[in-house]
């Protein structure tokens, strides 16, 4: 008994796959920006904030890092409405991805902040920079340069994890694959093609981030 592969459906499916991929890219773009911003605030707060804030951030990081993303997603999408917060699927997905990624990148950014020599801060203070200027202009750029490779990996990991947001009916790449296979009854072929699209996306995203990082930060990323 042989099973013959059939990719005849593919010609009619390119549009759906491209639409799904575009949504996946949108999700990860928003998550990258919001997550990085949030983790800079979080890392700064964890170092310089008042004690209750530091404790809150540490707890947040531990809770997010020790529970599955899928459960966090369900909690936000199905659980929050009972508190009166109703989010549409895409927004819930963006929120869950951002909160999840930030928990990992807070640690990464924090390590970068620690890596900037103390003398940099002292020199900036001696030049009369205000604390905020000092953080934004002196410490942060150097920290980002150090942690850029780790940040890049985390973004790619998050992009791959975003496949599960199909479970709350966000119309991204995996969701489109589910729809296609239900129509074509060619489950293996459909998921195979979409897996390859994901592989291309993750390689492309990594290349884009490495190239962009080199240009903007001068970060030495391989």
């Amino acid at each position: 008994m042989g099973y013959s592969l059939d990719f005849g459906w593919l010609a009619g499916a390119v549009g759906a796959i491209a639409r799904g991929a575009a949504t996946t890219i949108l999700l990860i773009a928003v998550t990258t920006l919001a997550g990085t911003f949030l983790s800079i605030l979080g890392a700064a707060g964890k170092r310089n904030g008042p004690k209750p804030l530091r404790l809150a951030i540490a707890t947040y990081v531990e809770v997010m890092r020790n529970t599955p993303f899928l459960v966090q997603l369900f909690f936000i999408f199905f659980g929050l409405p009972s508190l009166g917060v109703r989010l549409d699927p895409t927004l819930a997905a963006m929120l869950a991805m951002t909160l999840n990624m930030a928990a990992y990148t807070i640690e990464i950014v924090g390590a970068g902040l620690d890596a900037v020599p103390r003398g940099q801060t002292e020199a900036a203070l001696a030049l009369g920079l205000r604390p905020r200027q000092l953080f934004i202009k002196i410490v942060l750029p150097q920290a980002l340069k150090v942690i850029y490779p780790a940040l890049t990996s985390q973004i790619v990991i998050m992009m791959l994890e975003s496949a599960v947001v199909s479970q709350i009916a966000v119309r991204e790449l995996t969701y489109e694959a589910d729809m296609l296979q239900a129509r074509t009854f060619r489950a293996f072929e459909t998921y195979f093609v979409v897996t390859m699209v994901y592989l291309g996306l993750s390689m492309g995203l990594r290349r884009l981030l490495v190239g962009g990082g080199r240009r903007v930060l001068g970060a030495g990323v391989s």
């Binding site: 809770v63 890092r65 909690f75 409405p81 995996t174 293996f188 994901y198």
Partner: protein
């Protein structure tokens, strides 16, 4: 209509958590065995074998686990194998784990000084003896922290097998939620159970990391 008390929910979730634990263990052990094979290829002397292993690792690290599980679930029946959610879940996670563990351990092998190989050779050990007696024990020892860290990631990853129909913690919680309409409580409890499983391991990994730094 069946009424679920709070304790009914907790009891059912804990019963389902057994499967999460079992699947994690099966995938970790299976992943370690397959990962060892991938590691042999990855550090072998011939170029093509290193290339195949790198490709294998890049493939699993560059695609979503959910897709890997789907391909396992829909692909294996085509080879004539009867496949159930448990088999697809265990096999899928085993291959996933093997790629990550091989890469972690390769880092350990690479970190050893060249002299360790030379010393082994000068004692007259052949390649496999060198690996077994000198290289691998040290490589495993220095990568213990990331290995435990990956185990945490693996436990969390078992949640995805609910999507291909494996009856573990998350799938059970979906069913309970559909009956009770208390998502806040149900998913909160699920998160708590995962936390209780993962947090001690995370702390252990952190302790190992700190010990290695000194």
């Amino acid at each position: 209509m069946i009424e679920f008390t709070f304790w009914d929910i907790v009891r059912n979730l804990l019963l389902a958590a057994r499967w999460t634990v079992l699947l994690s263990l099966a995938a970790f052990i299976g992943g370690a065995l397959v990962g060892l094979v991938v590691l042999f290829f990855r550090i072998a002397k011939t170029k093509w074998s290193r290339r195949i292993a790198s490709g294998y690792i890049a493939l699993f690290q560059g695609t979503p686990l959910l897709m890997q599980l789907f391909l396992m679930f829909f692909g294996l029946p085509m080879l004539g194998l009867r496949i159930e959610p448990w088999t697809a879940a265990a096999l899928g996670l085993t291959f996933f784990a093997s790629a990550y563990l091989a890469e972690i351990w390769r880092g350990g092998v690479d970190a050893l000084p060249r002299g360790q190989w030379d010393a082994g050779a000068s004692l007259g050990l052949h390649y496999l003896q060198e690996l077994r007696l000198i290289i691998l024990p040290q490589a495993f020892a220095i990568t213990r922290a990331p290995t435990v860290g990956f185990l945490v990631q693996l436990i969390k990853s078992t949640a995805l097998t609910s999507i291909i129909g494996f009856e573990e913690l998350v799938r059970t919680s979906n069913a309970i939620n559909n009956a009770t309409f208390e998502p806040f409580k149900v998913y909160g409890l699920v998160a708590l159970i995962f936390f209780v499983m993962c947090f001690p391991l995370t702390q252990y990994a952190r302790r190992l990391e700190r010990a290695a730094a000194h």
